[in-house]
């Protein structure tokens, strides 16, 4: 029971979705859209699990005075207030208006957005440090990597006078031709990997995700 039912479910639904793909008829479309809805809904229940785990981990941190426990309190406070704002709208408790709650929006605009944008902008620095650290002519391959990157990065550099146009064209060619070839090779490989893995899942060969290995 514990082992067999899940594998049976996986097989049934997997095969069904494959067949569904070849049936354009409305009826099959309905079932298909249905399943997608279900997955979203289940996802929300799972989110509750997630939040629970987040709260428990933070709470334990504080309870057992683990290193940086004070910050866990900040997490919990942020969580608590944001949920409060998200669910409450003045007198009008529990209404989707919560998403338009003034504080909810301000938290989004002045806390989430700036931190998000800044985390993203860290990439500017990390891309530089990664380049400095890793682009070394250690081996033939590393040198290829290095040269390709240099050519692209020099493509609009004016300090080479007459040479620049050549660099630019080469860069353009690199981006249009070998790039396309390599990407296509990878895509085909990935496609095969995905197809094979899905098949293994449906056939119950790949089952680590059920905790059965």
């Amino acid at each position: 029971m514990k082992r067999q039912v899940p594998l049976a479910l996986v097989f049934i639904f997997g095969i069904f979705m494959i067949i569904q793909y070849f049936i354009p008829h409305e009826k099959s479309e309905w079932v298909y859209e249905f399943f997608l809805d279900w997955i979203y809904i289940i996802g929300i229940f799972a989110l509750a699990l997630g939040i629970w785990s987040l709260i428990r981990v933070s709470y334990d941190k504080i309870k057992y005075r683990r290193p940086n426990w004070q910050y866990a309190a900040i997490t919990l406070l942020g969580l608590f207030f944001m949920i409060l704002f998200g669910f409450d709208y003045g007198r009008h408790i529990f209404s989707a208006e919560g998403l338009r709650n003034y504080m909810f929006v301000s938290f989004f605009d002045y806390i989430l957005i700036p931190i998000q944008a800044t985390m993203f902008s860290l990439l500017a620095f990390f891309i530089a440090s990664a380049a400095y650290r890793a682009f070394r002519a250690r081996s033939a391959l590393a040198t290829l990597l290095l040269l390709a990157a240099l050519i692209i990065m020099l493509r609009f550099n004016p300090y080479f006078g007459a040479v620049t146009p050549y660099i630019e064209k080469t860069a353009g060619w690199l981006l249009n031709v070998p790039n396309l070839a390599a990407k296509r090779a990878i895509i085909i490989g990935v496609g095969l990997g995905i197809v094979a893995t899905s098949l293994k899942v449906i056939l119950g060969i790949e089952r680590a995700y059920l905790g059965k290995d």
Binding site: K2, L7, V10, F13, G14, M17, I18, Y21, W30, F35, D37, I39, I41, I42, I44, F45, L47, I74, T75, L77, G78, L79, I83, S95, A96, G98, F104, S106, Y110, I111, I115, Q116, A117, T118, S121, A124, I127, L141, L144, L145, A149, I152, Y166, K169, A171, G172, W173, L175, N176, P178, A182, R184, A185, I188, V190, L192, I194, V195, V201, Y209
Partner: protein
């Protein structure tokens, strides 16, 4: 806490308050609630700098921003999910009284035409969801595998066909390119050093590179064959082309990343300090 760090804290706090007041006074008259807005902008500037400070080393300000970010964002997605999916999608289908409570119009759409009426069919995901929650219980935990099985199974089937089509068949058929095209001169190749796609000559050369590139790339991905001899040569060429591509895309991304940074500079210098109009 060390004395020095306390001092730093106080200094930062002082600077925060000063810039808040400055911002607020600068906005006086221009905006109502200028005190509050001044605070918000100063606070987001503070958070911005706190995150950037991570580049030097992990520090209390980063920890503060990080933990705040985690809590608030988790709650954000929670609220979003609740209102859009549960209230927006589920409630209207399963119960009129509930949808009345949440002030959403009940939906009774053509699902009803299918085997079961809506309200029933839409209880299934609820039940599956509850099964998932059961994993918190010691002895009923195993049942949480059922909803997972449903999700994984159906998405596996879903992915199998779609990826076979988009990532396999369609990619393969698009490698069928003419390698021998009748000569029509070199186009802009020499006149404008245009290597992009100009002229028959370059197109043809390009097609050859693409075709051979794909072949060698695929050879590189062979797992069950020793990479020796001609096969080994193919896979070596394959990995070369991969490396060139990786280098190229790395170099190409730099520009976009820098403009992200410029965006933050605009916030700091423009919106916050008001140095740049």
């Amino acid at each position: 806490m060390k004395r020095s760090s306390i001092i730093i804290m106080l200094v930062v706090l002082a600077m925060f308050v000063i810039s808040w007041l400055a911002k607020a006074s600068s906005m006086a008259g221009v905006e109502d609630h200028n005190i509050w807005h001044g605070f918000l902008i100063t606070f987001s500037a503070f958070l911005t700098l706190a995150i950037l400070s991570f580049l030097y080393k992990d520090n209390p300000f980063y920890k503060f921003a990080e933990h705040l970010f985690v809590g608030v964002s988790a709650a954000y997605w929670m609220s979003m999910g609740f209102w859009t999916t549960i209230v927006g999608n589920l409630i209207p289908r399963i119960s009129n009284s509930l949808s009345a409570f949440f002030e959403v119009p009940p939906i009774a759409d053509e699902w009803a035409l299918l085997l079961l009426p809506d309200s029933v069919t839409f209880f299934i995901p609820v039940i599956l969801g509850i099964m998932l929650l059961l994993r918190l219980s010691r002895n009923m935990g195993w049942i949480s595998a059922w909803p997972l099985a449903f999700i994984v199974g159906s998405t596996a089937g879903f992915n199998l066909v779609r990826y076979l089509r988009s990532d396999f068949i369609e990619q393969v058929s698009s490698t069928f390119v003419p390698l021998l095209v009748d000569w029509q001169g070199t186009g802009h190749f020499f006149s404008h050093l245009n290597l992009n796609a100009s002229g028959q000559f370059v197109t043809m050369a390009g097609n050859w590179v693409i075709f051979l590139g794909v072949m060698c790339g695929l050879i590189y991905f062979f797992f069950s064959k020793e990479h020796k001899g001609i096969f080994g040569f193919g896979s070596r060429v394959g990995i070369w082309i991969l490396m060139v591509t990786f280098g190229a895309s790395f170099g190409y991304t730099v520009m976009g990343r820098i403009s992200l940074l410029v965006g933050r500079l605009t916030f700091l210098f423009g919106d916050w300090l008001g140095l740049i109009s």
